[in-house]
Symmetry: C2
Subunit: 234 residues, 2 copies
DNA sequence: CATTGTGAAGCGTTTCACAGCC
DNA sequence: GGCTGTGAAACGCTTCACAATG
């Protein structure tokens, strides 16, 4: 095994694809596949084979020319690079519909991100148990974060409460935020933020639908160029 | 009002930002703001002002030099460009935890994407009412899609059922899919697909967390370059 | 000899910088 | 004078094409 030469800087676009490769490779390993070529992995991930090779090359030269990549070993390397060799406990702010669904959903607990706490402002929600965690008052956030050594916070509040939730998470010492509220959070530049916004995704799809159909059905405008079927698999 | 010169081709990166601008502009309009500069909008969206101007320029020249953009009018133009001048009914496949949360969640119904149907394979779930829709057998998908003229489908099944769900949606005539299952869907290139994957987002955050802390705590490797605080607000 | 690893070309996106205009 | 609209430069990501190699 080559020595750990970690701290290579990996392009963001590649970082965003590594989890997909990982998921596919784990499935392949479970199915008993021992080796996979860049072509094979590319097919399963619906990307270009050259891209797979370039992406994997950022991890090191872990392939074998003429053969491909050893699945188990790649899984190990990607896990290590993504920091998935240990769990990352998360705390959820907001125990409404969404917060409860997230806490219950296996997506967190089963995949190395155990829900170590869930908090809310509404006393009516305190002490309800969702997904194995008991809902606590938001004022306990600092203690929860500190005692359980949490670095990732999840904002699952309505839009109105999101900025406040983020402020409290940052004050409590969190350094990464996953934001489900339809709001652009303002946080120090040292904090990593990822946003998941249902409405945004639907509106992007709407844009493509609209382009697809506008020349056909739209009665009010006629003088439009013909539409080509565009494969948008973004 | 300038004539509808629709059918301009807008870069994907811009399309993905228009919903954010829209959300901010609607808020501003509600707060009584009548005009906004590219600088002001940029600040609220946490992007560069030149980017805002370039993005908006793809819609047409709707600003006034020396003044800025009229908020109401921009809202109208962005809505039109995104195809949000009418509702897009959606059908959800999968009435489990996630499907129910989605159907109940205002994110769809309140924002122009009414849940016109929800289906499942499990007879145990049939006829339950979630978010105003009654759960129907998945075999009724073609009728639901046709009768309600639906073009957007949502995959909210477990990973195992996702490809089948997508195949059925495509067969039923859907042309856009929002996929919540942690699986790369294989669909014809004419279909638009967007994926929302919790685990992927968390793993990307994990990567940055790991980089942040590795040089500090990690006892096994020492010879690492110093870490700079990187603001990753992707 | 199949397949990786990678320079280099190609392409889309971002940012700069300033002319154009109200 | 202030702010938009936009060529052009800069940047990052993708794809090509092929030398390196087990």
């Amino acid at each position: 095994m080559p020595p750990h030469r970690t701290r290579r800087r990996i392009p963001e676009a590649t970082v965003a694809r590594l989890p997909i490769y990982l998921q596919i490779l784990v499935e392949q390993a479970e199915a008993g596949v021992e080796n996979i070529s860049s072509e094979g992995l590319a097919e399963l991930a619906a990307v270009n084979a050259a891209k797979v090779r370039k992406d994997l090359s950022y991890l090191g030269s872990y392939g074998t020319r003429g053969v491909g990549y050893e699945v188990e070993y790649l899984v190990y390397q990607i896990r290590r690079e993504l920091g998935l060799d240990h769990d990352w406990p998360v705390v959820i702010v907001g125990a409404g519909n969404l917060g409860q669904a997230l806490a219950g959903h296996g997506g967190f607990n089963d995949r190395g991100f155990p829900v170590a706490g869930i908090v809310d402002i509404d006393p009516g929600k305190f002490d309800a148990v969702v997904g194995g965690a008991r809902v606590r008052p938001i004022d306990e956030l600092p203690q929860i974060v500190a005692s359980k050594n949490i670095s990732i916070g999840v904002v699952a509040t309505p839009a109105e409460g999101a900025q406040n939730a983020a402020d409290r998470l940052v004050a409590a010492g969190i350094t990464s935020i996953l934001n489900f509220a339809p709001v652009v959070l303002s946080v120090p530049s040292t904090i990593s933020v990822r946003k998941v916004d249902l409405a945004v995704e639907l509106q992007i799809l709407s844009y493509h639908e609209q382009r697809r159909t506008s020349s056909a059905q739209n009665g009010s405008l006629r003088a439009l160029p013909a539409e080509r079927g565009r494969g948008v698999t973004a």
